[in-house]
C-alpha cells in the first residue's frame, strides 16, 4: 500500500527541489491543505499479480495456429516432397506470379538465382536481386514461409507434402541441394545455405560513431 506523504515530507521536498523556497511558503502550503475540502477517499485494493482472465487453449486450437518451423526443425510436420513433385506444384500454384522458372514477374519476386556464388556484394550494389539461393540464410525459412503465406491467393492451403516438395524444387533450382534430395523434417534443417555465414548481429548503438 502506498504510504501517504506527510505535509512535513512534502515541505522538505519543496525546500530541496525549490532551493530558494522559504519556510513561509511551506506554512502557506500547510495552511492551504488544512482548508482543502476535497472529499475523503478510501484506498483502492491492490490489484493482484494475476487477474485470472483467459482460458486454456485446446490442443486442437493450438495446432491450428502453431504453424511455424524453426532452424532446428521444431515445428516441421511429418511428410516429404521431391523435386519432381515440387516442379508440378510450382507450375500449378506459383508460376503465374513468380514465372515458370521462379524468375519473378512484375511485383512478384524472383526466387531462383544461385549467383553471385562468391562474395556477398549486396551492400555495394542494389541491383543484385536477392534470391533464396544467394541471400536466404536458413533452409527451414523456405518451408515456414511457403507453408504459412503461399500461394498468395490461397495462403494456408498447401499440404505439408506440397510445401516440402516446393522446398525441394526451390532449393535445387537455386543449386543448394541436388535434384534427387528428398525434403522432410529430418533433411531440410540439415541443408546449409550459402549465405549463412554472412549474417552478423546488429552492432549499432546510441551515441557515436555512426554504424
Amino acid at each position: 500500500m502506498r504510504p501517504r506523504r506527510s505535509s512535513v515530507a512534502r515541505c522538505l521536498t519543496v525546500l530541496v527541489i525549490g532551493g530558494g523556497t522559504t519556510l513561509g511558503a511551506c506554512r502557506r502550503d500547510t495552511a492551504r491543505e488544512s482548508e482543502a475540502t476535497l472529499p475523503a477517499v478510501g484506498h483502492a485494493r491492490r490489484t493482484p499479480e494475476q487477474l485470472g482472465l483467459g482460458h486454456s487453449p485446446t490442443a486442437q486450437q493450438l495446432a491450428a495456429i502453431d504453424i511455424d518451423a524453426n532452424p532446428a526443425g521444431v515445428g516441421l510436420p511429418p511428410g516429404q516432397g521431391t523435386y519432381a513433385e515440387g516442379a508440378a506444384v510450382f507450375a500449378q500454384k506459383c508460376a503465374f506470379c513468380h514465372g515458370p522458372k521462379g524468375e519473378g514477374l512484375g511485383p512478384y519476386p524472383k526466387l531462383v538465382g544461385a549467383e553471385p556464388k562468391q562474395g556477398f556484394p549486396f551492400g555495394r550494389d542494389p541491383k543484385i536481386v536477392k534470391t533464396i539461393g544467394n541471400y536466404w540464410p536458413y533452409s527451414t525459412t523456405v518451408y515456414d514461409y511457403v507453408h504459412r503465406a503461399m500461394p498468395f491467393n490461397a495462403p494456408g492451403s498447401l499440404t505439408p507434402n506440397e510445401s516440402y516438395a516446393l522446398a525441394a524444387w526451390l532449393l535445387a533450382e537455386n543449386e543448394v541441394i541436388p535434384r534427387d534430395a528428398i525434403m522432410n523434417a529430418q533433411t531440410l534443417p540439415k541443408v546449409q545455405m550459402p549465405a549463412r555465414g554472412h549474417f552478423v548481429l546488429d552492432d549499432r548503438r546510441g551515441g557515436q560513431p555512426f554504424r
Binding site: 499479480e49 487477474l51 487453449p57 502453431d66 511455424d68 551492400g123 542494389p126 525459412t141 552478423v200 546510441g206
Partner: protein
C-alpha cells in the same frame, strides 16, 4: 441554374459533408451554398469546394454522425489500392505530432484483414506455465496504458535513397512513419497471467492476416514496454492499422509491430522467419548483412518548406519538421539554411516524448537567394543524424533498410523548393 446542376451540387455537398445515405441536408443551406457558386460553369465531378462568401450570414450545415474534413483540405495516403506494399502518410499536411488515424501510413503483406472483434483472440503459448487465450473483451479488462509512440517502417525512404527525384514531397521521401497515442495492455501484464518458463529467450509474434506475418522478438523488449494496442488516438484501431489488436514495440521497426496479432509463442531461439532473414536485414559494404537491427535510428525531416511549396517572397518563413528516435527522446534538432555550412539549434515545439515524433521549428529570414536547407536530429544517447556522405560510406549503396541520413531541400531563387537527396 438547371435542376440537374442543382442536384449535382446537392449530391456533391452531401457527400462532402459525410451525409450519404439519404440523411437530411438543409435545403436552404444547400441552395445558399449553390447560389454562392452561381455563375460558375456546370462543373464535372469532382467539384471544387464551394463556400458562401460570408458564412456568418447563412445558416450552417447540420451535424453528421462523424466529423468531416473541410472540403478545402484533401490530405491523402498514396499510393492506394495496395495489398502488398506501402501507402505513405502525407507528412507535409500535418501540424503538431499526432498523425490523424485515417492518415497513418499502411504497409500490408497480403491485404487488410477484416476481423470480427467477437471472434478475435490472442493466444500466448510455448515456453509458458499456462498457455492462455484472451478475447478482446478480456484484453480490455486488464489495467491499460496509454502512450504516444511513432511507428516507422524500416524501409522508409528507400526510394529517396536509391532513386531520388527533385519532385519528391515529404510524403514521398519519409511517409512511412506515423505517430499516435496508443492504448492497450502491456505484454508484461499478460505474461504475468501465463508465467514464463526458463529458457524463454524470444517470442514469435504472428498476425492473423493472410500473410500470417511473423517476427521473433527478444523477451526483454516484451517485458520492457511492449503493448498489445487496441486503441489509437482515442478510438479502436483503424482496420488497416491492425484492428482489433496489434503489437506495439516502441522504437522498433514497424514490421515487428505485428498487426491483427493472433498469437505470441515463447521460444528458446529466433524463428528465422522470412521477414527477419531475407527481408529487414541490412547488407553492408563489407560483405556482411546486419540482422536483428530492430531499433530505428534518430532521424528528422523538414516538412515545410518542401516540394511542391514555393516561397512567394523573401522574408521570414518558418522551417518546420518532425524528428524522432527509437532510442529515446529527441534532445536537439539543428537546422542549416546554408547547405550545411552552419547550423542553428531549432525550437522543439513540444510535447517532447521518448520514442515519439517531435515537432521542431526554426524561423528563417530568407534573403531571396538560392540555398539549401537541412535538419539534423540528436537524441538523448548523443546520437547525431548522419550526413548523406557518411551514411553512404558506412552503409553502402545497396543497403536495404534504416535510411536515416540528413535530408536536403533545395530552395531556388524563384522560391521553388525541390528535394535534394
Amino acid at each position: 441554374m438547371s435542376d440537374d446542376r442543382a442536384i449535382t451540387r446537392r449530391r456533391a455537398i452531401g457527400v462532402a459533408a459525410g451525409l450519404v445515405g439519404g440523411a437530411v441536408l438543409s435545403g436552404e443551406a444547400v441552395e445558399l451554398l449553390a447560389q454562392q457558386g452561381g455563375g460558375a460553369a456546370a462543373a464535372p465531378a469532382p467539384l471544387a469546394p464551394v463556400a458562401p462568401a460570408d458564412a456568418s450570414v447563412v445558416p450552417g450545415l447540420p451535424s453528421g454522425a462523424t466529423s468531416i474534413r473541410s472540403p478545402f483540405e484533401t490530405p491523402a495516403l498514396t499510393p492506394v489500392g495496395v495489398t502488398t506494399g506501402s501507402s505513405l502518410s502525407p507528412l507535409q499536411d500535418f501540424a503538431g505530432t499526432i498523425t490523424p488515424s485515417d492518415l497513418h501510413f499502411q504497409r500490408h503483406h497480403n491485404g487488410i484483414a477484416v476481423i470480427d472483434p467477437a471472434r478475435y483472440s490472442l493466444t500466448i503459448h510455448g515456453l509458458v506455465d499456462h498457455p492462455l487465450v484472451f478475447s478482446l473483451e478480456e484484453l480490455k479488462r486488464f489495467p491499460s496504458v496509454t502512450r504516444t509512440h511513432f511507428i516507422e517502417c524500416s524501409g522508409n525512404a528507400r526510394a529517396a535513397y536509391r532513386t531520388p527525384k527533385r519532385e519528391m514531397t515529404p510524403q514521398d521521401v519519409d511517409g512511412l512513419t506515423s505517430n499516435s497515442e496508443w492504448s492497450g495492455v502491456l505484454v508484461s501484464t499478460l505474461l504475468k497471467e501465463t508465467g514464463m518458463k526458463r529458457g524463454a529467450k524470444w517470442a514469435l509474434a504472428e498476425g492473423g492476416d493472410a500473410a500470417r506475418l511473423s517476427r521473433s522478438i527478444p523477451v526483454p523488449k516484451l517485458l520492457d514496454d511492449a503493448i498489445i494496442a487496441y486503441a489509437q488516438n482515442g478510438e479502436p484501431l483503424r482496420m488497416p492499422n491492425g484492428y482489433p489488436a496489434r503489437l506495439l514495440l516502441p522504437g522498433y521497426e514497424g514490421n515487428m509491430c505485428i498487426k491483427w496479432i493472433r498469437r505470441i509463442e515463447l521460444i528458446d531461439q529466433p524463428n528465422m522467419s522470412r521477414d527477419e532473414t531475407s527481408k529487414y536485414t541490412d547488407p553492408l559494404p563489407n560483405g556482411t548483412a546486419r540482422q536483428f537491427s530492430f531499433v530505428m535510428d534518430a532521424k528528422s525531416i523538414i516538412t515545410s518548406p518542401a516540394y511542391p511549396e514555393r516561397l512567394t517572397a523573401p522574408g521570414w518563413w518558418p522551417v518546420r519538421g518532425l524528428a524522432w528516435s527509437g532510442r529515446g527522446k529527441i534532445t536537439r534538432v539543428d537546422v542549416s539554411t546554408d547547405g550545411g555550412r552552419s547550423w542553428t539549434e531549432s525550437e522543439l515545439v513540444g510535447p517532447v516524448l521518448p520514442l515519439a515524433h517531435t515537432r521542431f521549428q526554426h524561423m528563417w529570414q530568407w534573403d531571396g537567394k538560392a540555398t539549401s536547407i537541412m535538419s539534423r536530429a540528436i537524441d538523448e544517447t548523443g546520437y547525431v543524424q548522419p550526413t548523406l556522405e557518411t551514411f553512404r560510406a558506412v552503409r553502402g549503396a545497396g543497403t536495404d533498410f534504416h535510411f536515416n541520413a540528413i535530408r536536403t531541400w533545395l530552395v531556388e531563387q524563384d522560391g521553388r523548393v525541390f528535394f535534394g537527396g
